[in-house]
């Protein structure tokens, strides 16, 4: 019961704080519209032929961009919700107070990530609503249970990396080390803005070791209504990533936390 009380308290706290910055929500919508408009007109400029070449992704080129952009936001949240929220607690001075209560650090870490993840879902929803209603994106054959399955397995795999990022923040006071090492390369190499097949062979090999490559390809296929068989293979690879990265992230974070308690740097920033 305490679990749900605490989870609800964290979500409520973050929601109220977000609500108290009303302009931020409109800026997010403006960003989405502007970003999608950019790719919409780019697609128009490239003409009908280019659009049809991307038909196998379940829509035209614009739909390809739409999915990539929505995914990029989601990927950012998965990788950073833990370290970003922890950093916020550092700066506001609330982490030390929270740690002086019976709520453990893993609970604080997990509950803090709930609101950003909910917000990321809202963000994706807005991308698709705006993309479909304003720009005419086509996502009619999506297999939603499969999309959900890919999303959940991906979340666990990326949470492992996100928790590792939070561990780096605790030890080095810099949480964006993984951003440079993982997020930016993933945007470039995992098929977010162009297909992996467009990359030279050696870059495709690097792409094949990034979980985002499998995650995004599976989501594109599931959204495009392609055969479930084509998605299962990627889900399997993601499950292996999840089985390795998640426990590894927990272990690294636990070590980092105990280390920072030992050296007295836990609540300094």
């Amino acid at each position: 019961m305490n679990f749900f009380i605490k989870a609800a308290a964290f979500i409520k706290k973050s929601f109220i704080i977000q609500k108290n910055y009303p302009l931020q929500f409109f800026i997010v919508i403006f960003d989405i519209v502007l970003g999608l408009a950019f790719f919409y007109f780019l697609t128009k400029m490239l003409g009908q032929d280019q659009e049809q070449r991307f038909g196998f992704y379940g829509g035209g080129l614009f739909t390809f961009f739409l999915i990539g952009m929505a995914y990029a936001g989601f990927l950012y949240t998965w990788l950073y919700c833990f370290s970003d929220m922890l950093q916020n607690e550092f700066y506001s001075g609330t982490l030390e107070v929270a740690l002086a209560t019976p709520t453990g650090i893993f609970q604080i870490l997990f509950f803090s990530s709930l609101w950003p993840q909910l917000y990321a879902f809202l963000n994706v929803f807005l991308y698709f609503i705006i993309g479909i209603l304003i720009f005419g994106a086509r996502i009619s054959a999506a297999n939603y249970p499969l999309v959900l399955t890919v999303t959940l397995v991906s979340m666990v795999a990326f949470a492992g990396l996100g928790i590792t990022s939070a561990a780096l923040l605790i030890v080095f006071k810099k949480g964006d080390l993984l951003k440079k090492a993982l997020y930016v390369p993933s945007l470039f190499l995992s098929g977010v803005y162009f297909p992996v097949e467009a990359l030279p062979g050696w870059l495709q090999k690097i792409s094949s070791i990034l979980p985002a490559t499998y995650s995004l390809r599976a989501i594109r296929n599931a959204l495009g209504g392609n055969s479930a068989g084509s998605v299962y293979g990627d889900i399997g690879v993601l499950a292996i990533f999840a089985a390795i990265l998640f426990p590894a992230g927990i272990y690294i974070f636990k070590r980092a936390f105990l280390h920072s308690k030992k050296v007295g740097s836990l609540t300094s920033y």
Binding site: K6, F10, I16, G93, E96, A98, A100, L258, V263, G264
Partner: protein
Amino acid sequence: MIGMLPLPAAQRDTGMDAINAKDLTKHFFHRRGIFGRRCLTAVNNVTLSVRKGEAFGLLGPNGAGKTTLIKMLTTLITPSKGELFVNGYGLREEKKIKGSISLIYPGERSFYHRLTGRQNLEFFAALHGIHPSPARVKIGGLLKTVGLSNDADVWFEKYSSGMKQRLAVARGLLNDPEIIFMDEPTKGLDPIEARRFRRFVREFLSGEKRKTVFLATHQLDEAEDICDRVAVMDSGEIKICGMIGEFAGSGRTGLYDLLVRTVDGGKS
């Protein structure tokens, strides 16, 4: 030597102790150049006991090790060496220790600025595992106790320093702790608000509620107003410990003399 050092733990009735520390030590290591590192002993073999219901003051200049000691006592830092029991719980029972204590900071930071005072308290009550309905009742009572009922639904960032400190006290009482730790609690308060705070601690927390108060401060009048017993800490060590009344020329002058003699060797 003035005053008395605490008796070894084995010779006392530890059931009466709220805090019982033996040889508590904390080393910090700082990098020196590329390969070297320097050891700084922030707290050195501190043996200390605080009885239940006692108001205990830890005096000392900046950098004496007071905050490090408080952080060890509240389990936020792991000691390098030594034994510690808080409310009878050892360090392996960290969760139980945390459930039975609270830590009051200077109020400026450590709250969410865009939440109201009440919303802040509701959040921290949840961290203590208090269910929302009883929490609301409790928070209403605490806000009344600290005189913030009328401003409970105002954003924290709009509060004055005194109001922020009173909210910090209310938060510190959410879990009905047996021990309340305070680290420089009146820092940044004007003299009137500081005096009101001290009276509240003395009369309400210590007097009426019989809480154990552990106060770290370098303000002598604060220690005198609040504490039954004080220890002077310098360079990580407890130099002297005793009842306030035991010190020669009791009162503020006595404490001042004690601090100067202990820390500065009477040079000042």
